[in-house]
């Protein structure tokens, strides 16, 4: 684990928002992620992919904030997908019994195909 300063970038692929959290996902940075997602949800986006390829570590507060994003998205009938998680990140979700509440994909392409957006 080599936690870099947190940054969040995003892009729109058709009607899907793809979010790229980078670094250590904790309370402070998690708020940034939530607000980035919220920004898209407010504009009517109902499909969000969080790509964890550049995320070093997710702590329990980060996880709870991801649950908030999911809850917010569910109220609009939207879908949240997670991609590019490493073995340990997946393991953490599994330990907490959360795998059944999220959709996990090996990569962004698979998630985009699932959501009906075209993979670039």
């Amino acid at each position: 684990m080599n936690a870099a300063p947190f940054q969040v970038k995003s892009r729109i692929v058709n009607d899907v928002a793809v979010i790229y959290p980078k670094g250590y996902l904790n309370n402070l940075s998690g708020e940034g992620l939530v607000s980035e997602c919220g920004r898209y949800i407010e504009t009517g986006i109902k499909k969000i992919i969080v790509n964890f390829s550049e995320t070093d570590l997710i702590n329990s507060i980060g996880i709870s904030l991801l649950l908030h994003v999911m809850e917010e998205l569910q109220t609009t009938g939207g879908t949240l997908c997670f991609t590019d998680m490493d073995k340990v990140q997946l393991g953490i979700f599994d330990m907490l019994g959360l795998t059944k509440y999220f959709r996990f994909f090996q990569d962004e392409k698979g998630a985009l195909q699932f959501l009906g957006g075209s993979a670039e």
Binding site: M1, L28, L57, S60, S64, L67, H68, K87, V88
Partner: protein, 551 residues
């Protein structure tokens, strides 16, 4: 009793100091030496040192008369003290001249019954001294009586033609000399001044605590003409020789390395070394290994001679029971932090008002408890704190003390302190990374361990509420096990108080937080939460399997 003590052949490593003090009378006469203030921490062997000197002069010297007086056992009502001091001097003088130890210790024999013997020895001037003293007593002249007693060694030196070496032990207690009740006659100690000035009568003065003794001698009248001699702990080889000879006498065999561990732990203190040997005997050990030593040590701290010794010192020094608890809390704070902090901050941290805190701090300084680096004293204080403040049982305390030193031989221990600030937990996580690499841990496991530690640190930051924004970490690794202790000051918490709701509940509830301990328990083999004085300690334990180590 000055003639009782360790046999001279078993008394080690103070030869140079003894040789100097044996010559003190002649050096003083030639103005080459002063009175000697013998300084050293409690338990370093100041009393035993004086006894060795006394015995050596008693048997080997014809020219210098030794006189030993301990204020520890003395009655401190001034008239009683004067009679006692005088009688002991006369008896020790007679015993020396006749080389008859019986008189040294025979305090029940009235002085008049010694007069025929004194006359036979040709010490008629001593009979005059007895008469003079009796006259002062009969006249009810308090100061005359005390001065007469204190000046008897000088009179004896002048009239008897032989210098007298006066050894005053536990001299700090002389501050409590009084007429009818404590504190009604301050300054009686200064009556020794005249006697100390006489070159025929050098004084060696000692006592504890050193700070109090030094304070008495800060009076310029006493300070002038007094040199300091410091007694140091025994070096390791001498301490080992002492320990092994004591155990050999009790027919107890032992593991050398384990014995050396204990000697290092007690930092060469002769008192503790003797107490440890006695503890082994009391516990009926006949072949001491590391575990036996550990048991003897915890016995000593909780129930043994060392506990008794320090209990007496605490009771004696801290008579006010109210302040005792504050002092225990203060000491525990210092032991835990290794720092003193300013008074205002301490007051907040300990929840003690400043006037009371100030009183406690003064008592600590005066009694030499504050800055002590004596590990046994620290363990004793902890044990007292556990018992008196936290209500722990002897068995619980013993377990805690034994666990403190239970470090496997093939282990590595790292300690660090991190601030309670944003992302400080990542610094701790980096430490785990390196520690894991040191023992070739598989990277995936290492990442999980890092997360468990991160969660524990976050938990400490969120629950502490302490003014002291620090987290104390201790990593202990062996090839088979990693143990991380995370201690945080402030508000205590338990696993029960941190009960985390099930995932299903969290998914429907507004509150999504509270996964930390679930994660820690899933990742680690054992998670313990304990209250250790004013800190909460979370211990994370991982037993490392063979497949979790890189080939």
């Amino acid at each position: 009793m000055p003639l009782y003590g360790i046999p001279a052949k078993d008394y080690l490593d103070r030869e140079d100091e003894l040789a100097y003090l044996k010559r003190l009378a002649s050096l003083r006469r030639d103005t080459l030496a002063d009175n000697v203030l013998l300084i050293g921490p409690r338990g370093i062997g100041k009393t035993e040192f004086l006894k060795q000197l006394y015995r050596s002069l008693f048997w080997d010297s014809k020219d210098v008369v030794p006189f030993y007086y301990s204020f520890k056992t003395a009655a401190l009502k001034s008239t009683t003290f004067a009679r006692d001091y005088f009688a002991r001097f006369v008896k020790q003088y007679v015993a020396f001249v006749k080389k008859e130890p019986l008189h040294v210790n025979n305090m029940s024999m009235p002085l008049p019954r010694l007069i025929p013997l004194i006359s036979t020895l040709g010490l008629d001037w001593l009979i005059d001294c007895i008469d003079d003293f009796q006259q002062n007593t009969d006249q009810g002249d308090l100061y005359g009586q005390i001065l007469s007693a204190i000046s008897t060694p000088v009179n004896a030196a002048v009239r008897g033609g032989r210098p007298v070496l006066v050894m005053l032990d536990d001299f700090t207690a002389s501050e409590e000399l009084h007429e009818t009740k404590r504190g009604d006659a301050p300054g009686l100690t200064s009556l020794f001044e005249e006697s100390m000035k006489n070159s025929l009568c050098p004084h060696i003065i000692t006592g504890s605590p050193s700070a109090k003794l030094e304070a008495i001698f800060s009076d310029p009248a006493l300070h002038k003409g007094t040199e300091r001699m410091r007694l140091y702990p025994l070096p390791e080889d001498t301490a080992y020789a002492l320990f092994s000879s004591l155990l050999a006498k009790m027919k107890i065999s032992f593991d050398r390395e384990a014995a050396l561990d204990i000697i290092r732990r007690v930092k060469g203190s002769p008192l503790y070394i003797r107490n440890m040997a006695r503890a082994a005997w009391k516990m009926k050990k006949n072949n001491l290994d590391k575990k036996d030593f550990s048991e003897c040590y915890s016995f000593e701290i909780i129930d043994g001679e060392t506990a008794f010794y320090w209990s007496s010192v605490f009771s004696e020094s801290l008579r006010d029971k109210g302040i005792r608890r504050t002092i225990l809390e203060l000491l525990m704070h210092r032991i835990a932090r290794g720092e003193t902090g300013d008074q205002e901050r301490l007051s907040k941290v300990l929840g003690v008002r400043e006037p009371r805190l100030s009183e406690a701090l003064d008592a600590l300084e005066l009694n030499d408890f504050g800055g002590s680096d004596d590990p046994l004293l620290k363990d004793f204080v902890q044990s007292l704190y556990f018992r008196e403040v936290e209500g722990k049982t002897g068995a619980e305390i013993r377990k805690l003390i034994e666990a403190k030193y239970d470090v496997p031989a093939d282990s590595s221990v790292f300690e660090m302190v991190i601030p309670m600030s944003d992302q400080a937990e990542l610094v701790a996580a980096r430490a785990v990374d390196q520690i894991g690499k040191n023992i070739n841990l598989e990277p995936e496991l290492m990442n999980y361990l890092q997360l468990a530690l991160v969660e524990s640190c976050i938990n400490a930051m969120e629950h502490s509420g302490s003014y002291e924004k620090k987290i104390y970490l201790k990593f202990t690794t062996t090839p088979q096990r990693l143990e991380i202790a995370i201690e945080s000051p402030g508000r205590h918490f338990t696993l029960d108080s941190l009960k985390e709701s099930p995932t299903e509940e969290k998914m429907t509830a507004g509150q999504k937080r509270g996964w930390g301990f679930t994660l820690m328990r899933k990742i680690m083999d054992e998670v313990r939460v304990e209250r250790i004085s004013d800190r909460t300690r979370v211990t994370l334990i991982k037993n490392i399997k063979r497949n979790e180590v890189l080939k």
